[in-house]
Subunit: 326 residues, 4 copies
């Protein structure tokens, strides 16, 4: 099934991915990981939750850690272009029979909670408390020097369906992997903000959150993080990398937080603002699509993901991932 033509005039205007909530079992341990090790900045914290932003962000938060009895992922949140887009989104989702609610979120204006075609919780807002710039407060930089949240990657039981749904609301495919035999999509990368992706989809038991990525300045910052993690008790949290993805051309590292939520540290993709940008197709049998340099990903990387609160994942009809043996 070919990828659909980009929908250049979607029903409402999403600017970019914005933030995610993680339910975590130990806020102290999570703080040590995200703040002391990665270098995210605390913008609010209590016994119940910690709000974090990255160094070049002016919105109040890109990650919310909430104390809970069990780890899971909360909604994936997106910023829209203005208040009016919220009403348009509301009507579009409601018109398709998706449950829609206006919810209260601290530090945010009007927020629409709904779900995607697989029941995955997603939220939309326009207004968030704006904070003074700190990207030139170099004394605050720590760890991997995270600059901004970059993208979500989710396991999807039907990537063709996922791409169809997100394409309707304006996400444009930049790269994709096709199973040459079934001609079905195995994975796809889609964007709104002009990079390789705001959200990507990988075939598998889903919906589950595969990872959340943060953009950093250079590969050397990722090397610094590896040195720091491996000498401060986090060596077992290093899952995959460093390496270069064939897809997206990004330099990457995958790490696991204390509850197993996967974080990608990411730099070096490319600009995708051209509306006529041709999506790049990769063959599922080409191992360089995953790691340009050839090193295989570990099995855990293909299997583990964060379940969304209250959403039962469904197996994919395409079967398990073609794991390349090392």
């Amino acid at each position: 099934m070919p990828i659909p033509a980009p929908n250049l005039y979607p029903p409402f205007n999403i600017v970019r991915l914005s933030h995610v909530d993680f339910a975590v079992t130990d806020l102290t341990a999570s703080r040590a990981f995200y703040v002391d090790t990665l270098g995210l900045q605390v913008t609010d914290e209590s016994d119940a939750a910690i709000y974090l932003r990255a160094m070049e962000e002016r919105g109040h938060h890109c990650l919310v850690l909430r104390k809970a009895d069990a780890a899971h992922a909360g909604a994936l949140s997106f910023k829209v272009f203005d208040e009016d887009q919220l009403d348009r989104a509301h009507d579009w989702f409601a018109g398709r029979g998706h449950a829609v609610r206006w919810v209260e979120r601290p530090y945010q204006g009007r927020t629409l909670a709904t779900h995607d075609c697989f029941g995955m919780p997603i939220e939309f807002y326009f207004r968030m408390d704006r904070l003074p710039p700190i990207h030139q407060s170099y004394a605050l930089y720590r760890g991997v020097k995270p600059l901004r949240i970059d993208h979500f990657n989710v396991f999807s039981p039907d990537v063709d369906k996922a791409v169809g749904f997100y394409n309707e609301i304006g996400f444009r495919v930049t790269e994709y992997t096709e199973d040459e035999e079934s001609k079905r999509l195995w994975a796809a990368w889609t964007h709104r903000k002009g990079g390789v992706h705001d959200i990507a989809f990988t075939n598998g038991l889903g919906p589950r959150l595969h990872h959340t990525a943060f953009w950093v300045p250079t590969p050397l910052n990722i090397i610094d993080l590896l040195d720091l993690m491996s000498t401060t008790g986090y060596v077992a949290n290093i899952e995959r990398g460093p390496g270069r993805h064939g897809i997206s051309n990004a330099f990457f590292l995958y790490i696991l937080d204390p509850d197993g939520h996967r974080i990608e540290i990411y730099c070096s993709d490319y600009q995708t603002v051209d509306p006529d940008l041709e999506a790049i197709k990769w063959d599922l049998k080409d191992p360089q699509r995953q790691t340009l340099w050839g090193a295989p990903a570990p099995r855990s990387w293909f299997e583990l993901g964060s379940v969304f609160d209250g959403v039962e994942p469904v197996a994919s009809g395409l079967g398990a991932s073609p794991i390349i043996a090392p």
Copy 2:
């Protein structure tokens, strides 16, 4: 005069800056500079012109070098979102009394030639020949590893007027310098594509093209270029840097091509897609706005620029630049 509120629903949709023409006096010398030294890729060449693209670009050209008797700058070109935007642009400019022409440009579709509020030639197109990706053809990378054209910077005799004009057609201000006494704008950075700028304006004899910038992966690539230029006969073409701009936070280097056209090599600015992004204001008296690390720019940097063919520059009412003595 305060900067205007961003015009979020402009009369037509410009995606990004696209390319520029340079009239040059010696194509061989220019080729040695842009191709052999900087590392741009030739996509077409003849005795009359050389077309170049950067490594991650899929459009046919971002820079056109044309043989001429005297050096000057040609039109600054911008890509619009679709064909329909060209007609909207045509009508908008015509309705304001700007001369408009449909012109033929090799490798481009329908192209609208007009001029801005100072008579500076600008062109708009949607369709350009698309070329296969080469960003992963690492054997082709050379010199500074230029990834894409990033922005134009022009001398303007009235920056308030420039910002007013470009704001009307959707360019949003990200940072600006104000003269605290006159309350007039000294300089402004405006964008369409989600970075700090597609086009910036600096007070001075204008319109003249101050520089054209290319984005590169890391500061180390800029150091590589400095080492290469300084040992291959180009030491006198190094004008300013390397350094970090206060404004934009970019790591920069300014160099001059064989005809004196100024090129900035640039990395590390930040994402600006939020429609409610607050512009950052700098005081004209703060030397760190220019170089965060304190080193002054040389006098030539404040004075030299490329004249646009057939456009007589006009002096600014604000007088000369406050050059900081080294």
Copy 3:
């Protein structure tokens, strides 16, 4: 068995490792690998051999490729402090019953050929043709920008014996791995020139050459090489890395040449000139000694090595390597 006290007044003064000969089966393929891909400079070539130097070296060669029917390693060569040291070396080896010969080597002065305690061929010389500096000829830099040969690593059937022998001739241990049960050395790193090693020994079927290392400026040059190799047909030649060694703290990459000779690309070790530098001890059971970041080495890395011409390797009494499963 404890490591021996450093022999600070050895019988003759070795300055540093100098070069190695590789018998290769296809000079054209080897040239594409070492010259076009790694970036070593050709200082002489014929149908029979290619002589290479790295960018900051002034001696004529650090690597000699010789056309042969089968791949093997030739002698490991070392530079001594002056001519007089050659006679001292001659007498010391002869006095211990090692075969000694004065041999002719192109571009070298008087050269002593002998063998170590396992029959591994080693050679000593003082004088080699000196070439003009090219470290500031930046137009010549290519590939990984190799600056100098850094060290040899050899499989040894008895590392205690190897350390004892090389210690006598002045090599000082900087780091070592001990098998906590047998209290025998598993591996040791020894130096003359003030870095972590000129020659290292690893337990295994030996003597065989495990790898030859080249020093490069920064980890980013190694990333550049990975990008280049993986897109020019060399992805299968990437064996291990990039990563950080626990031992030596170096950032490393292991690659295989077209005949299977292993090359390490290496940067970031530390200065070891202090005669009272304490050797650092690692436990064989600590996986971080090999890769600080935790990723295991592939099985091939523990098993493959280049046989020395005419020298039959002997199994180690300590058994096979403790390969950590991925």
Copy 4:
């Protein structure tokens, strides 16, 4: 006057430069500079003095800050190869009529205090308290990530005489600048430890300490320091750079501590262990010897230096530095 042939068998064996004392007027301000900003590690501190080491050093100190009423430099200290060398040094200096004293220095063994041919205080020791390695304690790295002290640079009223003196005690010239007219040395770089220099001499009012250099991993660490200093109140302490020296090929930055003691941050020179290494000659009229990329040094860099306690500097007969106007 040609540079002398290297003295390969000097009267005593100096291993490397080791440390320097700075008299400073405000220990708190100096601590903020050296510890919080540069990232040196405190190994002892009191109201009177702070002892510091860099990240890969195992000796107790490479810099001692002493509270004093006025800033000046104390002795330049060197480590010798063993205890016996101290007695040899004692006799050599005494035999030449230099005042010699055995002095007590905290954390050091027997220490010989004497002076060079210009009365500049120098000290020699073999034994210093050894500390556990911290180069892999990545959580401790801060600021510019200083790895080790690299060299001293001193103003000398007669560089020919300085080179003659230091050559006698084994320092070998790696690069030098000659005044083509007078055929006298303008500057010279001399080493013991196998890099471009342990101590360098520049023509000028002397003896005065021009700067003390620290080695860092990569140019990006220097960029990090510039960003940090320029946003934490130290912008005026940035004197020159970043840049590449022609001489030594090093990437450099010069900064001033709160008392005006000059520190160079330095990486990327080359290995010089070959006893037959040819010194590289530069012409005093070649501006690229100072900055390969062409940018001139500020006047202060040619004029300011730290006076040694109780040593009256003497003007050079060669006159003032040929300062290149920016």
